[in-house]
């Protein structure tokens, strides 16, 4: 599904130039001494019934990008055009008043990583799943009960589960409750923030299948935020790779896994262990750690760990080089590499 590549149809989400800076303050007067540029000029689109994955290591800004898009944290700059129906006029989510945004959240939901921390332990399951329906005045009384029971069954739990409390469930079951909650309002777009990362492999497979089924059934679009590349490869239509607050490469799943161009993407892919004993590894081992986002390296942020960095890499941040209609990467050395090949 790469509907977004055609120009005719407006994608569900078109995010442009998202920035989220967290101020760094010092002293009693809270002097502003700098910014953590958690997300710095990030743009992407999510098509209808499409899964876009944001991948990268901890601190790369993938979670902040997802939460800023839903305005769970307020973005510093950028534009997020949301087009509910094909042909409808897009609205900028970042321009909506808090009240309008709250109403809009019916369409835009999120599933969190930790199924232990994201469910209120004092609320019954029916309360957790039904809360949004009540708040938005969609259902009450018996109808609400019925809806909650349907939702629970849809995510593979028994309807009786609604009278129980989160601590009575296993990790996988709790994640199902979190998914039922996200589905309650009939959303079009769900941010899955490391939604399967905390689960054991056999349970993870159950949840991945559920997410896929729900996508088919309700025509959902996902922004899938994850660090596990094998899950990402399996689930995504398109992938954007982030490093220190910026997207360094984006393309279809095939582009990224078969034709990775950015040295960071290549190193990341080569670090992923594969369940094939005796496989010959040609691993690109990166030196050192991710630099601090308070003072990222000048020029290309990746140059301090890049195996092929040259002098010009420290001068300016590279612009995205278009490699095909679906594939682009931000690296000074890419053109020369392709001409070589």
């Amino acid at each position: 599904m790469s509907a977004t590549t055609s120009t005719a149809e407006e994608p569900l989400i078109r995010l442009t130039g998202l920035k989220k800076y967290f101020p760094v303050e010092k002293g009693v007067f809270r002097r502003h001494v700098g910014d953590v540029k958690a997300v710095d000029d990030v743009s992407f689109q999510v098509g209808r019934q499409e899964t876009l994955s944001l991948v990268g290591e901890s601190g790369c800004g993938k979670t902040t990008a997802g939460r800023s898009l839903l305005r769970l944290i307020e973005p510093t700059a950028g534009e997020a055009l949301y087009c509910a129906e094909p042909g409808a006029a897009p609205i900028d989510l970042f321009e909506l008043s808090t009240k309008d945004m709250r109403r809009r959240r019916r369409d835009l939901q999120i599933i969190f990583q930790d199924p232990f921390a994201s469910l209120n332990p004092r609320m019954s399951v029916s309360h957790i799943v039904g809360e949004a329906l009540r708040v938005h005045g969609i259902a009450r009384g018996d109808e609400l009960d019925g809806r909650v029971a349907d939702l629970l069954q849809r995510v593979g739990l028994r309807a009786e589960a609604r009278n129980r409390f989160p601590h009575e469930f296993s990790g996988g079951q709790r994640q199902r409750i979190g998914i039922a909650r996200a589905l309650a309002l009939g959303p079009k777009f769900i941010v899955c923030d490391e939604a399967v990362s905390a689960l054991d492999v056999s349970i993870q497979a159950q949840i991945i299948n559920l997410l896929k089924d729900l996508q088919e059934e309700y025509h959902l679009s996902y922004l899938f935020i994850a660090h596990d590349l094998s899950v990402v490869k399996y689930l995504s239509d398109r992938i954007a790779v982030m490093y220190l607050g910026r997207i360094v490469e984006s393309g279809t799943t095939h582009d990224i896994f078969e034709r990775a161009s950015h040295p960071y993407t290549r190193a990341l892919l080569s670090s992923v262990p594969r369940p094939e004993p005796g496989r010959k590894r040609d691993r690109i081992v990166l030196q050192g750690d991710v630099p601090s986002p308070i003072s990222p390296p000048s020029g290309c942020h990746f140059r301090t760990r890049c195996p092929v960095a040259e002098e010009r890499c420290s001068e300016v941040y590279p612009t995205h080089v278009r490699l095909s209609a679906t594939h682009s990467a931000a690296c000074h050395l890419i053109e020369s590499e392709t001409t070589q090949a």
């Binding site: 497979a205 159950q206 896929k212 660090h227 490869k233 399996y234 594969r274 369940p275 691993r283």
Partner: protein, 333 residues
């Protein structure tokens, strides 16, 4: 074991480690046996709660008592039964002969002491070095594990280091007394994948250099595939399958192992549904009778509830062992 010339360094034999909670008994480890050969890495895989970490804590005799205790079994290290050792004797073995690194290096390091002083403490205690020699040893160890500018880092506190660097410090501490066995309990689970690659390479390099054995505990089959020589698959407090790594990945025979492989997104084709294992891991307070996997097993029959299948060799030389009553049916899965 028919492995040429390799002797067993550690043999866990029928180990049972139980915990008491609110009057009930959790059989966290319930009859585990495996062998670690000299100079080799044994990977132990399994899902949360299968008992893989409790087994390794039992080897170190670090089970908190109460509520836990070793109920039965032997842990033979170079033929010596650790279960029968006194606390005094264990202190000599811990660190010196068997060292351990943990998943979360921040909680395993003491935040109020410099990393150097924590290594110095270990080598002074175990090797009786004087302060200057111990400090030199600490710097040497930090250098060995690839920490840049070790003579400066030695005086830093754990919070000043990144996650990957902290895990390197943990490894430096573990290696400082030159152990024969390194127990690595989910050593890279909290780390990013590029850093995970660095740490696993480091452990392999140290093994190459010192000839130590490694017990690698992980939930990640891919990590096992690339780093272990033998693999023990654990489920509900028991080893259900044990084999050399190539053999296990080429010919998994236990229905649980087969189910685990099938649920890996790595091995699935895009668009193909992932196979799943239905249900959840049973509680250690109430394991099913007979085979513990039968409640989730696609081929279970009545006989599976009647008796627990023993871990039996598939062939004469006994390199591949499986605990299943229905091996023929399982082979068709």
């Amino acid at each position: 074991m028919s492995e040429a010339n390799r002797k067993a360094l550690l043999e866990v034999d029928g180990l049972r480690t139980y915990f008491r909670s609110e009057g009930e008994i959790a059989r966290a480890v319930d009859g585990v046996s495996y062998t670690i050969l000299e100079g080799e890495t044994l990977g132990v895989v399994g899902e949360s709660g299968c008992g893989k970490s409790v087994t390794s804590l039992s080897i170190m005799r670090l089970i908190p008592d109460p509520p836990g205790w070793i109920e039965a079994g032997e842990i033979r290290f170079r033929g010596r039964n650790l279960v029968a050792c006194s606390e005094q004797e264990m202190r000599q073995i811990r660190g010196n002969e068997i060292a351990m690194i943990f998943q979360e290096p921040m909680t395993a390091l003491n935040p109020v002491f410099t990393v150097g002083s924590q290594i110095i403490e270990a080598v002074r205690e175990h090797q009786g070095l004087d302060p200057d020699a111990a400090r030199a040893r600490a710097i040497e160890m930090l250098e060995l594990v690839g920490i840049p500018i070790p003579e400066a880092r030695v005086d830093e506190y754990p919070h000043q280091l990144s996650g990957g660097m902290r895990q390197r410090v943990m490894i430096a501490m573990a290696m400082s007394c030159d152990p024969d066995l390194l127990i690595a309990d989910e050593p890279t689970t909290a780390l990013d994948v590029t850093v995970q690659a660095q740490i696993l390479d480091l452990i392999a390099e140290l093994q190459e250099r010192t000839g130590m054995s490694v017990l690698l505990i992980t939930h990640d089959l891919a990590v096992v595939a690339e780093n272990a020589h033998h693999v023990a698959v654990m489920y509900a407090g028991k080893v259900v399958e044990y084999a050399p790594v190539e053999e296990l990945f080429a010919r998994p025979r236990h229905p649980y192992t087969i189910g685990l492989f099938r649920s890996l997104p790595d091995l699935a084709k895009p668009g193909e549904r992932l196979a799943t294992i239905p249900g959840i891991v049973p509680s250690a307070f109430a394991f099913p009778s007979g085979c513990r996997y039968r409640t989730r097993c696609p081929i279970a029959r009545d006989e599976c509830a009647a008796a627990e299948p023993p871990l039996a060799a598939l062939d004469q030389d006994g390199v591949h062992t499986v605990a299943c009553h229905l091996l023929e049916e399982a082979a068709k899965l």
